[in-house]
């Protein structure tokens, strides 16, 4: 077993590109759920909207990459509007039904034969992120090390931009949530009827929250496809939404830094467990493969088993999250 390798991977995962992407998506979900109390079960749909917004506008419409990014945000906002219109007047579970259904439908539509000329179908869209990497001050193919962290040049560039964005957006969310607008959102979360009695247009505020959080989700989607240099429908599986939920609940919903903390903990843990299992001594590995079918494929599946089990246990026993406080926000106070 190569502990050095395992630790290097785990450290690099702690602040790696996945953390930035998932933390951004979780910031959006935090706006929805943590601050407004909206049960959005389709955050991955907004990520996909962002991803395809830029991918398709560059690949199919032949637009400039940067205009494509702007289009991606507008597109995600419109999607939020469309999903919010029928559901935000109804009880919380209806929004969850429609968002989970919509996110899965977006994936099915994007990967279908009919849409192949536009979205690339199952193969997806590649080679559109050139303009982003052209700006990179780092050599794309070279490895850079900083203390325990080690990344490819292209990832260093993605990380630099990603973390800057993530911190800026997090600070923006903090400012907004302290403003009268944000306090109205929290009032809606605590008691919708009371907010309505004070003359606030609850529907309107919820809609703004859904659109704002959805557009942050689109930033995550855009960053993810830039990092991977490809847009593929099947990476936007509904299970990603619930990974983001797990991350948010680990950090504690309704807290400013919880998405970053949660994402970092989640990815460090997952990378550590997967790499440790893959690096087990061959004899032990063979025994485990025979007895509990621990094949390479199943090691990859383990991540989702952990997400499922983790979400189940967190929601049951620690709804305010590991670091959250019950005073601010707990899942079961709603």
């Amino acid at each position: 077993m190569d502990w050095g390798f395992i630790l290097e991977r785990s450290f690099s995962a702690m602040i790696g590109p996945e953390v930035v992407v998932y933390a951004l998506a979780a910031v959006g979900l935090n706006v929805h759920f943590g601050y407004t109390g909206l049960m959005n079960f389709g955050q991955v749909g907004f990520m996909a909207a962002g991803a395809y917004g830029v991918g398709v506008s560059v690949f199919w419409l032949g637009w400039n990459f940067w205009i494509g990014i702007v289009f991606a945000f507008v597109y995600a906002g419109v999607l939020a509007l469309l999903l919010g219109l029928p559901t935000l007047r109804l009880r919380a579970d209806y929004l969850s039904l429609v968002t989970i259904a919509a996110s899965e439908t977006i994936r099915l539509l994007a990967r279908s034969r009919v849409m192949q000329p536009i979205t690339g179908g199952v193969e997806g869209v590649n080679q559109f992120a050139g303009p982003f990497y052209d700006l990179s001050p780092f050599e794309l193919g070279k490895f850079y090390s900083f203390g325990p962290f080690k990344y490819l040049g292209r990832d260093v560039w993605v990380l630099l931009v990603g973390w800057t964005l993530l911190i800026l957006i997090t600070l923006m969310v903090r400012q907004l949530m302290g403003s009268p607008w944000g306090r109205t959102l929290r009032a809606i979360r605590e008691d919708e009827d009371a907010a309505r009695a004070l003359g606030k247009n609850v529907y309107f505020y919820k809609m703004q929250s859904l659109m704002f959080g959805g557009m942050i989700g689109a930033v995550a989607g855009v960053l993810q496809v830039i990092q991977k240099s490809s847009v593929q429908a099947d990476t936007f599986n509904p299970v990603i939404t619930f990974t983001i939920w797990t991350i948010l609940i680990i950090g504690g919903p309704g807290r400013v830094w919880s998405p970053i903390v949660g994402a970092s903990i989640y990815w460090t843990l997952i990378v550590f467990v997967e790499n440790t299992l893959r690096q087990l001594p061959p004899g032990l590995r063979a025994t485990l493969e025979d007895s509990i079918q621990l094949s390479d494929f199943n090691i990859a599946m383990l991540r989702f088993i952990l997400v499922g089990g983790g979400l189940l246990l967190l929601a049951r026993f620690r709804p305010q999250g590991i670091f959250g406080s019950r005073e601010e926000m707990a899942l079961d106070r709603r």
Partner: protein, 448 residues
């Protein structure tokens, strides 16, 4: 009370352990693999009138393994030595004149042969004039009635899954996202009993005669799967949701719990069952019977009749029996039911058992074509659309909603690509919420 509760927990845990054991055993069970494996298929195309024409005399081959020629029914079979991936090639030169592959680049398909059954491959064929016939025959009476029948079939299967979901929502207020996994559970249980028998998955038992070692008859397997569905429903309620209710976990937190549970179960299924597609031992591929131009396989006809009988029985049970009326009473108004002396927790437990069993039964039917680890998750959207359309919490609404969703989805293929037909469910869902959020049979106060 504590004693009986302990007993209930223990028995539930045993039930779950047996179930997972059955799943886990599939690794060891490879000892009893049949050595008669093959790649099969039927070559056919639709002529200008929409009638099926079987293509004989076409050569197919698998490199280094062997070849075959399609017979007068268009059927071919190439035996393969061991499970695995095989690349099968159709010799396009041997196709009759005028008949071509729909996609000329796909004369070469990859078949993944699993250890239990022949793997079917499909080479879609067309003739020069059949292209025209598709657009002409699109809205033909024959096609519409065929799609309606398919829709009713889907709707009946969906209804069985949806009633449980709706009743669980009605009695506890919980939207159970893990319901899809109860469906998958039924499919997988039926598969394992059908292939491995009662205990045959545990390697050393596989030498026992059926029903213990070898696979049991599919009908028995279906019954057993239904029972296992009830067991899983009971266990989930007793081990997870009843304690949560008792300690006051909010409904939204419980909803997130069902999501966690759903992911946990789904990936446990793929962990132990694998991601390959499999088929039941019996009824996997049947030639369709024709009635007035409408095609239906015997197995689907039987399954539809069984579904109708079950649904009628459920309807009678809910309206005429004490238990059923208690279920509806709790669903209607929990507090009132409780104050009139109904043991609400007991009713909730019954609803979970009943819902789990029905979902499992629908799962065995959904698995007719292929058995896969995420079969429930793929139709979850449909079940939700059905339940919402009918009215969350109403059992008869779920039935009506399911039938409408089933037919609507199949009709939608008249105008959109088949691949996108499940999108119709989302449209139905959104329309229902816009126009009548309480659902067809729902009451207004529920939507809050």
């Amino acid at each position: 009370m504590p004693a009986s509760r302990r007993w209930a927990r223990a028995s539930g845990a045993i039930g779950l352990a047996i179930g997972l054991g059955v799943l886990a055993g599939n690794g060891q069970a490879q000892a009893q693999v049949s050595d008669d494996l093959g790649v099969i298929g039927t070559l056919q195309y639709s002529d200008a009138t929409g009638a099926k024409v079987f293509v004989a005399g076409v050569e197919l081959s698998i490199a280094d393994v062997g070849g075959a020629t399609s017979d007068k029914d268009g059927f071919f079979r190439i035996s393969v030595p061991v499970p695995g991936e095989y690349s099968i090639t159709l010799n396009t030169a041997t196709l009759p004149a005028g008949v071509t592959l729909k996609d000329p680049e796909r004369a070469n398909l990859v078949a993944l042969v699993s250890e239990n059954a022949d793997q079917r491959v499909i080479f879609p064929l067309i003739t020069a004039d059949s292209v025209v016939s598709v657009s002409e025959g699109n809205f033909s009476v024959r096609r519409v009635s065929q799609l309606t029948l398919e829709g009713l079939k889907l709707g009946l299967y969906l209804a069985m899954a949806a009633i449980g979901l709706s009743l669980i929502f009605g009695t506890t207020g919980l939207v159970n996202f893990a319901h899809a996994e109860l469906i998958t559970w039924g499919t997988l249980m039926a598969y394992f009993f059908n292939i491995y028998g009662l205990v045959g998955t545990f390697g050393f038992f596989s030498v026992l005669p059926p029903p213990f070692g070898g696979g049991v008859n599919f009908i028995v397997a279906t019954l057993l799967a239904t029972i296992m569905g009830g067991v899983l429903g009971f266990v989930l309620n007793r081990v997870i949701f009843r304690p949560s209710r008792a300690s006051g976990v909010s409904l939204l937190a419980q909803m997130v719990m069902t999501i966690g549970l759903s992911i946990l179960l789904r990936y446990l299924f793929v962990y132990f069952f694998g991601s390959r597609y499999r088929v039941y031992n019996e009824y996997a591929s049947q030639r369709a019977n024709k009635f007035w131009g409408i095609e239906l396989t015997s197995r689907d006809a039987v399954a539809m009749v069984v579904s109708i009988i079950i649904l009628i029985a459920v309807g009678i049970g809910l309206t005429r029996t004490r238990t059923g009326r208690a279920m509806r009473a709790v669903s209607d108004n929990r507090d009132l039911a409780e104050s009139s002396g109904i043991n609400v927790e007991r009713v909730i437990s019954q609803v979970w058992i009943f819902g789990g069993a029905l979902a499992a039964l629908s799962g065995t039917f959904f698995g007719f074509d292929t058995v896969k680890w995420d079969i429930g998750a793929r139709i979850l959207l449909l079940v939700f659309a059905a339940v919402t359309l009918g009215g969350l919490g109403t059992s008869f609404g779920a039935l009506v909603g399911a039938l409408i969703v089933g037919v609507a989805i199949n009709w939608s293929t008249l105008v959109i690509d088949t691949e996108l037909k499940n999108m119709t469910a989302l449209i139905v869902l959104i329309l229902a919420l816009l126009l009548r959020p309480q659902g067809i049979l729902g009451k207004k106060q529920r939507i809050g």
